[in-house]
Point group: C2
Chain length 225, copies 2
DNA sequence: GTCAACTAGTATACTAGTATAATAATTTTA
DNA sequence: TAAAATTATTATACTAGTATACTAGTTGAC
């Protein structure tokens, strides 16, 4: 189990949640293993309640399966659920990017371009963390422009399912392509061209590459069915 | 505060959640009022923890605002959020109903028709509760057919925002129209006609009638902005 | 041998008490 | 007098202990 320090001002509940989620999506906690409140609480040096609450939150999105009075199990990888998460994200982002074409102000456009430029900078400077942060920020901005942040939250939370299997994947998409996609999406929005924007965001999201077959061969016990 | 009995086999956490949600969406708990763990726990004859966990869950979807160390406030009606909920539901249901056109089996179609017939029966027999239950069941079935139940869960949870303001609305849609809409949607699915299905579900969902102006006049203090 | 009833073991679900932090009330100070 | 500092109040955030319920293993009836 990977343990971080609690951040300043962070509640123990949020701290527990952050640690658990991170351990799950990196498969540091292997799919299917049992987790016990007490053990985790001891490891994090907190009491059982914050851990319990964090587990309850994760179970809402089926990352954790709570067996009443018995313990919690890290959910097995359920490809139906992974596909549902992809469907969910695609459906929402397509709708959002179309809306963006009509709702984006000049300021919004220049903010987006700023993110793109920064991303290109960090791409050349091989700062993977910063690059990924900006990637998320680009998508976040699209929802923000349309005033649909609650939708963004849900997309993020469901995303954990494909984030987890993506971390096991062998073939990763070249970052260069992702930035180019963002540029294409940006230009479609700038041109107020919803058809093109939809096409581009679909192309972008279809790069979520999940090497299911290979992963199944190596870790068959990780899968639900 | 309206209090029900806990159902057999229901955890106290779920019980608290059910009671709180019901009181919020019926505006029995008025938008903006403070809620205190202790008071609610006493009223429900449970301890603070199950109530605390229920409040935490409701805060996830912004029905409750938690003020750290000070208490919880029933969220004011936020029309941006209500509109986001409508957008969210429409976006998802349009995508789902299109999928249904290709994915529904003969069995699925006959199950849907069964629901329609029951609904028509209860419409004539003026059983409002049963009617609404079947209304929900119809929409649930569409998600179920496509194997997208997690999406359904999210749509339901966000739906609380418009359910609440709808309960304050004066003009209610005639049930007869809703059943006819369901029939139209059903036929579009049966004909495997996604265009028509989209058109019909949009028409159906656009009936969500929110008399914002009149409600604002009577209860200006209920609104966020 | 099989199945049901019973028992032991264990981890949660819930209860209750304490520490902490946010706010309000009060006092101090300039 | 008004702003700053202090104190009091209060409700949560967290801790820790107990009751409950689930599982597995054993016993016993047939």
């Amino acid at each position: 189990m990977k343990i971080f320090e609690p951040e300043r001002g962070e509640s123990l509940r949020m701290y527990s949640l952050r640690v658990l989620r991170e351990n799950i999506i990196t498969t540091e906690f292997e799919p299917g293993v049992m987790l016990y409140e007490k053990e985790i609480a001891t490891a994090l040096n907190v009491s059982r309640s914050p851990v319990r609450e964090a587990l309850a939150e994760l179970s809402q999105f089926q990352l954790i399966e709570i067996l009443p009075q018995r313990g919690s199990r890290v959910a097995l990888i359920d490809m139906d659920l992974v596909n549902e998460a992809v469907f969910f994200r695609t459906t929402m982002e397509v709708a959002i990017v179309k809306l963006t074409c009509t709702m984006a102000s000049e300021k919004d456009l220049s903010d987006l371009e700023e993110i793109l430029k920064l991303q290109e900078f960090y791409l050349q400077n091989f700062s993977k963390d910063k690059f990924m942060e900006l990637d998320n920020q680009f998508h976040y901005s699209l929802f923000k422009i349309c005033n649909k942040l609650q939708c963004y939250n849900m997309v993020s939370k469901m995303g954990a399912h494909f984030d987890r299997i993506r971390n096991l994947s062998l073939h990763v998409v070249k970052d260069l392509k992702l930035v180019q996609d963002h540029r294409d999406i940006f230009h479609a929005i700038k041109d107020r061209d919803p058809k093109k924007a939809e096409e581009m965001i679909r192309k972008h999201l279809s790069r979520i590459q999940l090497d299911e077959k290979e992963i199944r061969k190596t870790y068959p016990q990780y899968f639900k069915n």
